[in-house]
């Protein structure tokens, strides 16, 4: 009886330390990993020479001013307005090239929002020009 008990105690391997390690690893991966993968928006840079190859009627210049309004051919639009969105859809349907220029004071987030809006309207021919100091 005594011998049997001793043999049983020797065979017993505790898995508690293993579970501890696995739990720590699990916590590490749960807290440090992210599923929010980074995306990208593609833009083409506006080279000065390239504009001359296009007809003027096909190039639409958008200027995002310091107040966050978009100026197209002298007319100011609020970027959330239906007029502006309609305008973008018209450019998309006619396959116009859109060149975006921004005020140097505007935040990058605002610029990205505008590019996003232009892309969503279906305009694929989009170029970004250098910022304009006001």
């Amino acid at each position: 009886m005594l011998l049997e008990v001793v043999r049983q105690r020797k065979q017993l391997i505790s898995i508690t330390p293993l579970i501890d390690v696995v739990f720590i690893l699990l916590l590490f991966f749960m807290l440090s990993s992210t599923f929010n993968r980074t995306k990208q928006i593609d833009i083409t840079t506006a080279l000065p020479g390239q504009q001359q190859h296009q007809q003027d009627s096909e190039i639409k210049k958008l200027f995002l001013d310091a107040d966050g309004a978009v100026v197209i051919e002298g007319i100011r639009y609020q970027s959330d307005s239906s007029d502006f969105i309609e305008q973008l859809h018209t450019y998309a349907q006619s396959g116009d090239q859109v060149i975006v220029a921004v005020s140097a004071d505007i935040r990058v987030q605002r610029l990205v929002k505008l590019i996003d809006q232009i892309r969503q309207s279906g305009i694929s021919n989009l170029k970004l020009a250098k910022s304009v100091t006001s």
């Binding site: 049997e4 980074t38 921004v102 990205v112």
Partner: protein, 135 residues
């Protein structure tokens, strides 16, 4: 009497260990899931990329430019000392080279000007801006 107690305790412990096995299996499965599906990213308050609704996944590129909240430029995680064009001169850039720019969202748009100028000089037409998913 004492020996019997030891035997009884040992059996109880064995039973407890056995009942833990399904829980350990689940923990292992969760561990494997997070190891495979999760991505470990360095998060910094100094570089919070703008938010967009773009669905295009970030592609691999040879040249990655980062502009942090302090306006410092990094090319492939190396700090740019001096001008950005000199630093980019170390890389063999062609018109087909894709450049991805991670820029802090609260910076003024003029922070992108040096990048646009170089990209224009080198004839590179494709520039991508890294964005985060809208949540």
């Amino acid at each position: 009497m004492k020996l019997l107690d030891i035997n009884h305790n040992s059996a109880r412990k064995n039973k407890l260990d056995d009942s833990m096995i399904p829980a350990i299996n689940i923990v292992f499965l969760l561990l494997i899931f997070f190891m495979l599906a999760g991505q470990i990213e360095a998060r910094s308050e100094l570089l919070q990329i703008p938010v967009s609704s773009s669905k295009t996944a970030l592609s691999e590129t040879r040249v990655e430019i980062k502009i942090d909240a302090n306006g410092r430029y990094f090319v492939n995680d190396q700090t740019v000392e001096g001008s950005l064009s000199e630093h980019l001169g170390k890389f063999v850039l062609t018109a087909e080279t894709a450049i991805i720019c991670h820029v802090h969202r609260d910076l003024p748009a003029s922070a992108l000007d040096p990048v646009l100028a170089i990209v224009g000089q080198l004839g590179i037409q494709q520039l991508s801006i890294a964005t985060a998913n809208q949540s």
